[in-house]
Symmetry: C2
Subunit: 146 residues, 2 copies
DNA sequence: TTATGTGCAAAATGTTTGCTCCCCA
DNA sequence: TGGGGAGCAAACATTTTGCACATAA
């Protein structure tokens, strides 16, 4: 494991409250090293295979599912069949995704919701928001100029 | 076909610019009659089977896909395996979904984005927005009080 | 008439599960 | 050492595809 990954890993391990097996360490390691990317289960599998021993697909799905339920991993669906995962760190949390309908690129940004949306939801609908996903479809700068 | 469906149907048919077969009419009919619902491909299949002749699943997927590409049908993914579809009428367009993490209920609302988000996207990222989907996860009034 | 659409069945894809053996705490 | 975890393969659900036949325009 690379040194700079260790403190992040420890931080997550504190939150997980589950047995720390070799496989789970390796999965977390890949997620941390790709903290700015969206990985499919198969991406994770391939990345692990290239650096460590092979681990089973079922283990990846089972682990990711647990991490997702514990709020450590976010599950995304950008419409291209396989679900994508990323670590739910503060920096990744509740950001928006701009998805280009031409080239498929995903750009991240934030700050498009009204500042008082949380209160509005509670008052108007009695709905308590824990998190949200905003997907914006359209055309990125490159594709618009092409 | 029920009488009140005909004007909506004609409106859509004008937009589609594709051969109007028996199967496509029946699919559109079901979508119009359930304009306020989110249907899976299988829901559509079952609804058609109960009122008309059986049509093939492949036809449903192929038709819905075309309608989606033409902007007549919206495809949703609420995280429960099968994709859900609804007509993309003005009333359905760009609304938000509040998804209860306990009971799975989906509530619709709108008006949570900043008024100038379209311009912000264009200026800050050069991104031209055509449409968006905002999914808000949390707990509905019923589940919060239960 | 002919390009397009349909149905069927088979295949592809992504994900989940049962069961046996393994290993972390 | 005991109970949760892993691996494998088989099952599963949803969606896609190839091909022969049917049909709207």
């Amino acid at each position: 494991m690379e040194a700079n990954v260790i403190p992040i890993m420890n931080n997550i391990v504190d939150k997980m409250d589950m047995r720390l097996t070799y496989q789970r360490k390796v999965i977390l390691n890949v997620l941390i090293e790709n903290i700015d990317k969206h990985l499919t289960a198969n991406d994770i599998y391939t990345l692990i295979k290239s650096k460590h021993n092979i681990i089973g697909m079922a283990t990846i799905y089972r682990t990711i599912d647990i991490l997702n339920k514990k709020g450590i991993v976010i599950k995304h669906d950008f419409g291209d069949s396989a679900a994508k995962y990323e670590l739910e760190i503060e920096q990744n949390k509740n950001h928006h995704h701009l998805i280009c309908k031409k080239c498929g690129k995903v750009i991240e940004m934030s700050g498009l919701l009204k500042d008082d949306f949380y209160e509005t939801l509670l008052q108007d609908k009695g709905f308590e928001c824990t998190d949200y996903k905003l997907k914006i479809f359209g055309y990125c700068a490159d594709c618009r100029n092409a």
